[in-house]
Amino acid sequence: MAEGSKASSKVALDPTDLYDTRSMLSDDERMVQDSVARFTDERVLPIIGPCFDEGRFPAELIPEIAELGLLGSSLPTEYGCAGLNAVSYGLICQELERGDSGIRSFVSVQSSLCMYPIYAFGSEEQRQRFLPGMAKGEIIGCFGLTEPHGGSDPGSMKTHAKRDGDDWIINGAKMWITNGGLAHVAIVWAMTEDGIQGFLVERGMKGFVTKDIHRKMSLRASVTSELYFDDVRVPDANRLPNVRGLKGPLSCLTQARYGITWGPIGAAIACYTEVLENTKTRMLFGKPLAATQTVQRRLAEMARRITTAQLLSMQLGRLKDAGTMQPSQVSLAKWNNCRMAIDIARDARDLLGGAGITTEYCPIRHQLNLESVITYEGTETVHELVIGREVTGLNAF
């Protein structure tokens, strides 16, 4: 009884932030979170259910997303970007994914997978040419790494580029490419005589076509496409000069995965908040559903796992801002937080009963979306094997 009586004499905690992680944020970071949260509440949530139902990416939001400064937010202001820190980027991902994983995916791809490599590996001329337009949302990018025969093993890629005078000739295909059909420029990773290199393949280059993938049950409010390259002639000026080998694409993935550790926290909070409200007000057997022990255990489990994920991402962000973050640390959080969110979404769906199977409620939409989020940017197994290798020193891939 001691716990019960104590609890009644103090102020209740915020159920979505039991460890007050918000107090770990700077004033600027809080302002970032609040601004993006308002965008999600006012612009994303009112339209996202129907977008998902119709399988439509709300491209009409792009100008506003850009104007808010969400594209390439960590890159320097001289390229028209916001110059924010890593924790701010994480908060952007979290608040966007509280709306929908598809919207967050759009921003992740544009920022971490497209703008980042142009900034990190591109020439100054390439940076000037692409980054300001990409920050404005006028140039959309996509990132082509995965191929049809096996995404978990990108080193075995078949897409290749052959030197031809001042140009390169690219042949091959990429699969499951977010933003592919929207993109004005594709960052394409291809095998060359000198190992894997990155190329900026532009819409309209002869032999380059994209085809959107339909019949998806996940990330329906996001464009996913196949890219085909049939003797595409690309000038050497469109090759990223400053990186060779798998570490090029992998370092982009580390950036994006870092953001993805935050995103699912948003999705989980959305599901948990909805089911908390619902079970507290739904009367069954003469009392609120939330007054039963098994339901409380399930809600408590959600709270515990959200709290754990928040602390993981917060510390990861601090390490990233300090410049000491290791890729395997990102793997641990990507694995933990995606698993946390998909489990919560599935359980929230169940707790809503029949109502939970419609997109009137958010859990089934988040659950389906998270099937992609747990798969892309390294499947759960891949991240487990990264941690396995980290702790044993033995490669089990």
């Binding site: 102020v11 209740a12 915020d14 918000r22 809080r30 302002m31 601004s35 506003e64 808010l68 400064g69």
Partner: protein, 248 residues
């Protein structure tokens, strides 16, 4: 023309406010705080007037603890040119706020003071009117539309009978209502840019304003729990139920 805008730090409107267990007030530790929404509307209006070329400078003022600098930061990121924090750890009542603002008006000589009609924490709805009285300047309260025409402002107010239109000579005090505008989103690059904007901190005590409390709060209580409703089958049953309760 300069425009002075007052911003109050309040518990965010989305927070479910909790009364402290001892009834001495409302819990604000670890609670999300924001600019009073009516003040945010006032700031938005000031920025629009400035951006239409009818004012040169928007000065945001807040009276509160050091943490109220967060709200000033937000105001500067929204677009105010500079900020003034009048620092005090005491809870400020309307007359004191009006006196502080009056002093700043004497110093800054703005052509217009814009502020929310009330703050969502104490709902007093007094500061703008008191400020106008202290300054002996025209006031237009509950503005739902503001037009600046040279030396005067045309203000539409929402009143019970409909809309009322006033013309006030400038300088004046205008308090803002909810439907005046929708405040802009804070753009993330502007958060960084606002860092270089001037911020002045003035200790409230240094102003020499009389700041004694005129009201004393005796006790806070949460609103009574809503009683469980009763379902009625049809309209006659509803009428009967209302009659039984003596409501019609």
């Amino acid at each position: 023309m300069k425009i002075l805008v007052a911003l109050k730090r309040v518990v965010d409107y989305q927070v479910r406010v909790q009364v402290k267990p001892d009834g001495s007030g409302v819990a604000i530790d670890g609670v999300k705080m924001s600019i009073n929404p009516f003040d945010e509307i006032a700031l938005e209006e000031a920025l629009r007037i400035r951006d239409a070329g009818k004012a040169e400078e928007v000065i945001a003022v807040t009276i509160g603890p050091q943490q109220a600098m967060q709200q000033l930061d937000s105001g500067l990121a929204m677009g105010a040119n500079r900020g003034i924090l009048v620092k005090t750890d005491k809870a400020i009542q309307p007359l004191t706020a009006a006196r502080v603002l009056a002093q700043l008006v004497e110093k800054e000589q703005p052509g217009l003071v814009l502020l929310g009609k009330q703050a969502i924490d104490d709902d007093c709805n007094q500061t703008p009117q008191m400020l106008a009285a202290l300054l002996d300047r025209p006031q237009a309260t509950f503005a739902s539309k503001v037009e600046i025409d040279g030396q005067s402002a045309t203000v539409t107010r929402e009143v019970d009978a409909g809309l009322e239109t006033l013309s006030v000579d400038l300088p004046a005090v205008i308090s803002t209502d909810l439907r005046l505008n929708t405040p802009r989103f804070i753009k993330l690059p502007d958060i960084m840019k606002a860092k270089s904007k001037p911020r002045e901190v003035i200790e409230l005590d240094s102003l020499g304003v009389e700041s004694g409390d005129h009201l004393s709060y005796t006790r806070y209580e949460p609103p009574a729990q809503r009683q469980k409703g009763e379902m009625v089958a049809d309209v006659p049953a509803l009428v009967a139920a209302l009659q039984a309760k003596g409501l019609i």
